[in-house]
C-alpha cells in the first residue's frame, strides 16, 4: 500500500487519508459581486493537470488534520508535504 507522510504523524497507509482536491482555492472575497459564470467556476471548476498538483489531504483515520501536498498525478509520487 502507498505510504503518505502526514506532517504530524509521519508515514501512514493511504487508507488512513482522504482526498480534498485542489489546494489554494479561496472562497470569493465578495460572492455577490460575481457573475453566474464566475460563481459557477468557483463551485465546479478545478485544475486537473497531468503532472505536479498541489492538493489537500486529511489524515482522517489519524490526527484528523488537513495538509497540502504536491503530488505528481501521472506517477502518483508525492513531491512535497506541508501543513
Amino acid at each position: 500500500m502507498q505510504l503518505l507522510t502526514c506532517p504530524w504523524c509521519g508515514d501512514r497507509e493511504e487508507a488512513e487519508f482522504r482526498y480534498g482536491g485542489q489546494a489554494g482555492v479561496p472562497y470569493p472575497a465578495d460572492p455577490r459581486a460575481l457573475s453566474d459564470a464566475e460563481w459557477g467556476r468557483y463551485l465546479f471548476v478545478r485544475d486537473n493537470p497531468a503532472g505536479p498538483f498541489a492538493e489537500r489531504w486529511v489524515h482522517s483515520a489519524g490526527c484528523r488534520r488537513w495538509f497540502t501536498a504536491v503530488r505528481d498525478t501521472v506517477t502518483h509520487e508525492f513531491l512535497r508535504e506541508a501543513p
Binding site: 500500500m1 502507498q2 497507509e13 493511504e14 487508507a15 482522504r18 482526498y19 482536491g21 453566474d36 459564470a37 459557477g40 467556476r41 463551485l43 465546479f44 471548476v45 478545478r46 485544475d47 486537473n48 493537470p49 497531468a50 498538483f53 492538493e55 503530488r71 498525478t73 501521472v74 506517477t75 502518483h76
Partner: protein, 405 residues
C-alpha cells in the same frame, strides 16, 4: 464458451499517414471518437475526417471498461440519452455488419439499506414513466434471476432487494470499437494511430488546427473525444473544465464455466460483476479518490471490492485473479457528461462520461456527430452542454451512476 467468440480477419482498417488538412479532426480514437467518425459519415455525409489517437485504437477506457450497458438512470434527460443509446445497441450488430456480442442478460442494481430501497424504487417508477423496462425485485426474486447471489439476511450489507432491467446487458468492447473503426475506414475516414495531439492552434477565438507528434494538421473543426485526457487538451486552447480525472480499476478472474447469468451491481459496496463470453468473471471497483493519469490505482480499492464481491458471491472464493488494470475516467460534478460547443469557435467537446460512457458509445457518437456537423447540440444531448455549470441546471446522476459502472 470459447467458441462463442468469432475470429477476426487480419486487418479491419488501413493504417494511413496523416494528411495535412481535414474538414474535421477528432482527437481520441476510443469508442466515442470512432462512433463519432462513423456517424459523421453515415448520417451527415462528412468523410474528410481524421481520428487521431496517441496510442493504438481503442486502447484507453474502451479497452478497460466492464462493458455494462443499461438505461435505468433517474432523470428524464439521462433516461432519454441512455435509452436512445440502448435502442441503437439493439440494432448495432446489423448496422455495423459486425459481431459485437451484445447480450441482453439484464442487470440487477442491489439495495442494501432502507435508503437504498427507497431510492431504488423511486428510480424504478421514474424509469417506467420514461418507458424503460424497470422492475423492483424482492430478495428472493433477485435470487431467481441470479442464483449464485447471496441474499441471506446474515451478511454485513444484506441484499434488501434490487432493481432489474431485463434489456440491459454487456457487449464485447473491442469488437464494438473495431466495428465502428472498420465502417468509418470504409467511408474513407483516416484512423491515425501513434499520433498524439500536443497543441491546438487558436486564432481570433477560432480553432484552426492541431499540432501532433506526426506534424501539424489544419482542420475546419476539431472535436475532442479524449475521455480522461480532455482537461489537458482543453488547456491547450486555454479552457478549464468542470472535469477531474481519476483512476478506475477493474479485474478479471481466470476462465470459468458459466455460473453468472446476468449483471449485478452494488453502489453501496462498490462492486459490479458479470461473466464475459469467454468465461472470465469481470469485476469493477469504485474510483480511486485522488486525481490520477497513471492508468493504475491503489491496491486497497480492489481489496475492498473483492471483499464485497465475496460476500455477495461466496462461490467466487476459490476463483483466481488473472489481471487487474485501471483506466482514467473524466468525472464531472453531477456525474453526467458534457457534450456540445465550447467558447472556442469550431472546437467541440464530448467528455465527462466518467465511469459510465461505454453504454453511451453509439448515441454519444450520434449526438456528437450531429453537433459537429450542424454547429448545434443534438436535442437529446442538449441538456448536457457546458452551460449547465453556469445556469445551475445540473443533471445529478450520483444515485444512478453511483460510483461507477
Amino acid at each position: 464458451m470459447t467458441d462463442a467468440v468469432p475470429r477476426m480477419p487480419g486487418f479491419l482498417w488501413r493504417n494511413p499517414d496523416p494528411r495535412r488538412s481535414y474538414d474535421v479532426v477528432i482527437v481520441g480514437g476510443g469508442g466515442h471518437g470512432l462512433a463519432t467518425a462513423y456517424y459523421l459519415a453515415k448520417n451527415h455525409g462528412i468523410t474528410n475526417v481524421a481520428v487521431l489517437e496517441k496510442g493504438w485504437l481503442a486502447g484507453g477506457n474502451m479497452a478497460r471498461n466492464t462493458t455494462i450497458i443499461r438505461s435505468n438512470y433517474l432523470w428524464d434527460e439521462s433516461s432519454r440519452i441512455y435509452e436512445h443509446s440502448l435502442k441503437l445497441w439493439e440494432g448495432l450488430e446489423d448496422d455495423l455488419g459486425f459481431p459485437i456480442l451484445f447480450s441482453q442478460r439484464g442487470v440487477l442494481n442491489l439495495a442494501h439499506s432502507l435508503a437504498d430501497v427507497r431510492e431504488s424504487k423511486r428510480r424504478v417508477y421514474a424509469n417506467r414513466l420514461n418507458g424503460i423496462d424497470a422492475q423492483w425485485l424482492e430478495p428472493a426474486e433477485a435470487a431467481e434471476v441470479c442464483p449464485i447471489l447471496n441474499v441471506s439476511p446474515g451478511t454485513r450489507y444484506p441484499v434488501l432487494g434490487a432493481t432489474y432491467q431485463p434489456r440491459a446487458g454487456i457487449a464485447k468492447h473491442d469488437y464494438v470499437a473495431w466495428g465502428f473503426a472498420r465502417r468509418a475506414d470504409s467511408y474513407g475516414i483516416d484512423l491515425i494511430q501513434d499520433c498524439e495531439v500536443t497543441g491546438l492552434d487558436v486564432r481570433h477565438g477560432r480553432v484552426t488546427g492541431v499540432r501532433t507528434t506526426r506534424g501539424p494538421i489544419t482542420a475546419g473543426k476539431v472535436a475532442l473525444a479524449a475521455a480522461g485526457h480532455t482537461s489537458v487538451l482543453a488547456g491547450m486552447a486555454g479552457l478549464t473544465l468542470p472535469v477531474q480525472s481519476h483512476p478506475l480499476q477493474a479485474l478479471v478472474s481466470e476462465l470459468l464455466e458459466p455460473v453468472h447469468p446476468t449483471v449485478v451491481m452494488s453502489n453501496a459496496v462498490h462492486v459490479y460483476v458479470s461473466q464475459a463470453h469467454k468465461g472470465e468473471l469481470v469485476m469493477g471497483a469504485g474510483i480511486d479518490g485522488y486525481n490520477g493519469y497513471g492508468q493504475r490505482g491503489s491496491f486497497h480499492v480492489i481489496e475492498r471490492q473483492m471483499a464485497a464481491a465475496l460476500e455477495l458471491f461466496p462461490v467466487f472464493a476459490r476463483a483466481r485473479l488473472l489481471r487487474t488494470w485501471a483506466g482514467i475516467v473524466d468525472t464531472t460534478p453531477d456525474a453526467s457528461p458534457i457534450v456540445g460547443l465550447t467558447p472556442v469557435e469550431d472546437l467541440y467537446l464530448n467528455c465527462g462520461w466518467g465511469t459510465g460512457g461505454f453504454k453511451a458509445t453509439p448515441r454519444a457518437g450520434w449526438c456528437f456527430a450531429h453537433t459537429i456537423a450542424t454547429g448545434r447540440p443534438h436535442e437529446i444531448s442538449a441538456p448536457f452542454t457546458l452551460d449547465r455549470f453556469t445556469t445551475g441546471a445540473l443533471v445529478d446522476e450520483h444515485g444512478a451512476a453511483g460510483v461507477a459502472h
